[in-house]
Amino acid sequence: MRPFTYERAGSPAEAAAAAAQQSEAKFIAGGTNLLDLMKLQIETPTQLIDVNDLGLNGIEPMPEGGLRIGALVRNTALAADERVRRDYGVLSRALLAGGSGQLRNKATTAGNLLQRTRCPYFYDTAQPCNKRQPGSGCSAIGGVTR
């Protein structure tokens, strides 16, 4: 991992302000994807802004129907929520089909949406990859899986 500074944000406004100050900053919640990529030096943030204290871990019913799911709700909590199990079984099943118990205890709802690609060429820093380094090319075209 490359060196980075660490800050724990207490509110969404604080987190946004901290991120605005450093273009190389990244938010971290569960960290199950980001830290993996940082160890491989695919992600090299100079600052991590811990957003776990933002209080966004509720699941609330909406007046017009549906549920509003907090960005920081863990996969385990979301899959186990009674309303999700009862009314949105597919969501519960999808969460339970991904990762392991340990990962689901850490991974968050928003973090899921922000996961980077699983393409092996993205993970191989010796190969060109437009997602890792825009403009460098795509090794998947004509790659081993084609």
Partner: protein, 234 residues
């Protein structure tokens, strides 16, 4: 030409400070310097090459913001204060700084489960989280679960059923098993739970699925299953 140099831990300040400074290990560390390259002797961050080491920034000097942080962890019931490089994973903090070497480093990428510990009673991969993110958290490692002569029922069951061969994955397997049974008690469903609205069943299929985040290269799975089944039935 290969040269070997021993490195020693940095001198600790006697003034008030963390229980353990950023000295990875009490033991001398062998460092291999290749091709006669200049060798610098310093306290090393385990698993990092010299080029990756953090700049020498302390909490009190240097112009830029610090990459050293103070962290307090409740480990196995005891408050432990540390001063760490921000990059230190919870696993490295436990193993290299607190010398709790029960938790193992297997893949270091959250795939094998050897590093499984419990934080606030929930099992997580200690290799895939930063120590600094766990300020004040209650962490239970295999050392806290039970000790020789005072084994946790799951530890005793693993011994009784021979739930290991080489033993490397065992601390992670045991921590994961204990927390897994709590997840079942709490009604958390799994991928193989047939009825999402019913309490999860205590079956071999459920245990296999729920323990899929812990890999045993020796293949002691059937005995691990026997151990878990015994404890779950009590």
């Amino acid at each position: 030409m290969n040269r070997f140099r021993q490195t020693k831990p940095q001198a600790l300040s006697a003034s008030e400070g963390p229980d353990v400074m950023d000295t990875p290990c009490d033991l001398p560390i062998l460092r291999r310097a290749l091709n006669g390259a200049a060798t610098t002797v310093a306290a090393m961050t385990p698993g990092l090459t010299g080029a990756e080491r953090a700049p020498a920034v302390s909490a009190t000097n240097g112009s830029g913001p610090s990459t050293m942080v103070r962290v307090s962890l409740q480990v196995n019931g005891a408050l432990r204060r540390l001063e760490l490089d921000t990059r230190t994973t919870l696993l490295d903090a436990l193993r290299e700084h607190l010398h709790l070497t029960g938790s193992k480093k297997g893949c270091d990428h959250g795939q094998c489960g050897a590093c499984t510990v419990m934080v606030g009673g929930r099992r997580i991969y200690a290799c895939l989280t930063l120590a600094v993110m766990h300020e004040g958290d209650a962490i239970t490692t295999i050392e806290g679960l039970g000790q020789p002569g005072n084994l946790h029922p799951m530890q005793a069951a693993f011994v009784k059923h021979d739930g290991y061969q080489c033993g490397y994955c065992t601390p992670g397997q045991i921590c994961a098993s204990v927390a897994m049974l709590e997840e079942i008690k709490a009604g958390v469903p799994s991928h193989v739970t047939a009825d999402l609205m019913a309490m999860p069943e205590i079956t071999a299929d459920e245990f296999r699925e729920r323990m899929s985040g812990n890999i045993c290269r020796c293949g002691a799975y059937s005995n691990i299953l026997d151990a878990i089944t015994e404890v779950a039935g009590k």
